[in-house]
């Protein structure tokens, strides 16, 4: 509101400021208006052109459709390639597990055969057989028998987890064990733990060609082991052959050592 007390000059200055602001606003509005007019003209021209040549629009539409089709095809191809890759990946992972398993098996078999042939001492060979059966097969209760050459009876020579009363002598060919000791390969019962604790779940005959040397009877597996693996069967075969050879060699070596000592003793007596 105007104040009649204020000097005229101040009021004039106020009016001038107000006027300048109004002029600025008007300039902005004119500028905006011109811009909008230009946009409208452009739009009108475009619409006119489109209306003048609908074939252009149709061509454009077809191009776009064609491009969409192409992209759709590419998408399908990419998806199928992706599927292929996924499949390849799965196959690769499966193969890797297989190779790892094979590696494990080969390592175990190598260790077993290397150890069995690392000594000519019968006690040591038997200790290694026990170690293999515990550590590589995972047996909890088992007995190793050797055939007494004179009597043809299976004598228990090493065991794990088997009470003394279970360590009995068994004539070759008699009962489950006596019969299994004469078999060509391991006799397996398809059970993880036998219902009859006196019947072995696996019997591995130890033999060289046709000559039975002994047997390993496994009665129980370790708690965490619930079935035999393909590696176990390989180990049964390896034990059947290699443990028998190692035992045979150790016995032969002991015999020859005994003979050598006797001869040496005789020689010493003769040359005294």
């Amino acid at each position: 509101m105007s104040d009649p007390e204020r000097p005229l000059q101040t009021r004039a200055e106020e009016f001038l400021t107000l006027f300048t602001k109004g002029a600025e606003l008007t300039r902005e509005l004119v500028h905006e208006n011109a811009h909008l007019r230009r946009r409208l003209l452009q739009m009108q021209q475009q619409t006119r052109l489109a209306a003048r040549d609908p074939a252009d629009w149709e061509r454009h539409r077809r191009d776009l459709l064609h491009r969409i089709e192409g992209l759709e095809g590419e998408r399908k191809e990419t998806l199928s390639r992706l599927e292929e890759l996924e499949h390849e990946n799965e196959e690769f992972a499966r193969r890797q597990v297989e190779v790892e398993q094979e590696n494990n098996s080969l390592a175990s078999l190598y260790v077993a055969s290397f150890q069995l042939h690392s000594t000519l001492d019968l006690e040591e060979v038997l200790r290694i057989v026990v170690e293999i059966v515990i550590n590589l097969i995972g047996a909890e209760r088992f007995v190793v028998y050797l055939v007494d050459d004179k009597t043809g009876i299976l004598e228990p020579v090493a065991s794990e987890g088997e009470p003394a009363e279970g360590l009995v002598r068994i004539p070759l060919g008699q009962g489950i064990l006596g019969g299994a000791a004469l078999a060509r390969g391991a006799t397996c019962r398809d059970a993880t733990a036998s219902e009859d604790p006196s019947a072995p779940i696996v019997c591995i005959p130890l033999r060289i060609e046709d000559r039975p040397l002994g047997a390993i009877a496994i009665y129980n597996l370790l708690q965490q082991k619930d079935c035999f693996t393909p590696l176990d069967h390989e180990l049964f075969n390896l034990l059947a052959g290699h443990a028998a050879t190692a035992i045979f060699s150790a016995r032969l070596y002991a015999q020859s050592e005994r003979k050598r000592n006797t001869m040496q003793g005789l020689l010493q007596l003769l040359t005294k």
Binding site: E100, N103, N104, A107, S108, Y110, V111, A112, F114, Q115, S118, I128, E131, I132, I134, N135, L136, I137, G138, L222, Q223, Q224, K225
Partner: protein, 125 residues
Amino acid sequence: MQKLRILVVDDSPTMRLLLSMALRRQRTFELVEATDGMDALKKLSADSFDLALVDINMPIMDGFTLIELVRKNRDFQGLPIVVVTTEGASADRDRAIQLGADDYVTKPVQPNQVLRVVNALLKVN
């Protein structure tokens, strides 16, 4: 690349060979073997190690005593210990872990399982 030294403690030569073969797949591991707890203590005192793989049942000094003594000794502080146990879910494993073992593998030993457990503790791969 600096090698990581692992002490394999087991009285069974078969197990030592199998464990060493499993770990040798990792080229950055250097392996030393000990035949019982006492032998392991001697080797641990004489040299520095990055991990020990310990069997439980051993003559002279078993795995439990070894773990107990290692955990009491400031010189071996922080040494990761993996035990090799016979039974999967039972007392041996629990007792070893209680005494300070970091992890375990069960028999029959799978070489790749040993490698996985050891690699995880040493943060390899």
